[in-house]
Amino acid sequence: MKNLILFILPLVFIATADFASSQNRNDSVDTSMVADISDIESDKSFYIGILFEMKPGWHIYWKNPGDSGMPTRVDFILPENFTQSDLFWPVPRSFTRSGNIRDFGYKDKVLLWKKITVPSGHNPEAEIPVKANISWVSCREVCVAGNKQIKSVIRPGKSPGIYNKELFERWEQKLPVKKGQEYSYYTENIPAEDKMSKFRINLDFKNITAKNIEWFPDSGETLKIERIEYDLGNPGDKGAITFFASLYPGKMLSSPNIPTVLVVTGPDGKRTGYKMPVKVIEVLKKRKPPENTE
């Protein structure tokens, strides 16, 4: 009987009690919690996220904000034993300002979400409280900090559930994809009279035509990357990205590769992001840090 109840209990009602306790007034961004939940079953997953809607001209930041700003932060608090994936970050955009300041982030709308896995032995009739702590900085000509807490309760029941399958599927299409045969690349260290190391990522577009390229290193606070330049060379088939890099003093990278995203704009204007790990660490480790240079 219990198994039957579990089987026919697909619909979940979410009572969204939106307690917005903003410490800073930020009218430039609206935030809402959204979910794609068909049912709550042990060892199964559902998606929960925050939809950010920016007023015209405003943007918020990617996990590496670039030269300024601050990463947008979404923390979900769930009952014990519910596991969460890392936050999913759709392909960002670049915002360049006077003074050669380049930021990475989002304008108009972005969904940041996680996959939540229900623990084994979860009581399907139990309510699930969910809390989201959100913080961001939005900028246009000026910048404004925002933070919000949204509380919600997932209540199993016979009422229609909250389905946002289409929304989540649409945003899943905007995630960086694993590179296939679209292009090949290799990274080389280039001699430069500079205290930072210079690198070039050589791109060979085999099966796609690139009208434009953009590069987003997820280097965080460990690696200093600057003077990023792009070269598309012969129309569409080859390209290069050059940049300078150095390790910030006292920082270590846990992996020899830095995660980056290469965004290729095709002739139709569509932007596709490819996950592109770039190996620079061995070169940087061998390089004397600037402060020890005689």
């Binding site: 030269d67 300024s68 300002r97 006077s98 003074g99 913080s135 910030y248 600037p290 402060e291």
Partner: protein, 200 residues
């Protein structure tokens, strides 16, 4: 070509080169000589870097409209550091390269926050671009020999969410090292804050 025309052309070419290169402010290298300046502060007084030869100088890029700066001034971060280290001979200068803020706005900021140190009015952004200042705040420390000893964030807590005792205090640690004649171990860090609002 006549000599005067030659000179004029040379002048034009060098001016253009300066204009083009000046638009791109790349970070200044550590251990480089700190670029000199001669600029007016919020009280109308002229401030020249050479006035402070032989002293340790902190340059703090600021913008009263920036939420990161606002938080630090609510928490008295810069005010307390300046008080502590000016007693030890360190010079603290704030710089505002915001293109839409002049002397009046900076004076108001100084008055509202009990700022006793000069705020250099860099509306044109020339000083900011010379140093490669990207954020507010963005900190530079010049050692007593006139070289850049530290540049970057004031601490490692952009969100202001850490316990103060857990923060890495980059500027404080660098000043302590310089005053003790020791090596500045962390001589640079990623600055955080709003972008400097340079003139377009």
């Amino acid at each position: 070509m006549s000599a005067p025309l030659n000179k004029l052309l040379t002048f034009i070419i060098f001016s253009l080169m300066f204009t083009i290169s000046g638009h791109y402010s790349f970070a200044i290298d550590n251990s480089a000589k700190a670029p000199g300046f001669n600029i007016t502060d919020h009280t109308g007084k002229n401030v020249n870097l050479s006035d402070y030869n032989g002293r340790i100088i902190v340059l703090e890029w600021t913008n009263p409209d920036c939420p990161f700066v606002q938080r630090h001034y609510r928490e008295n971060t810069m005010i307390e550091l300046e008080k502590e280290y000016s007693d030890k001979g360190v010079v603290w200068l704030a710089v505002n390269s915001t293109h839409y803020m002049g002397r009046d706005e900076n004076s108001k900021f100084a008055e509202e926050n009990d700022i006793n140190y000069p705020i250099l009015v860099d509306k044109s952004g020339e000083l900011g671009r010379k140093y490669g200042a990207k954020t507010t705040p963005h900190m530079f420390i010049i050692d007593s020999s006139g070289e850049i000893a530290y540049q970057g964030a004031i601490d490692d807590d952009p969100g202001g969410s850490m316990k103060p005792s857990d923060r890495k205090l980059y500027v404080k640690n660098a000043l302590n090292a310089l005053l003790s004649g020791e090596e500045v171990k962390i001589s640079s860090s990623k600055p955080y804050g709003c972008s400097v609002k340079y003139k377009k």
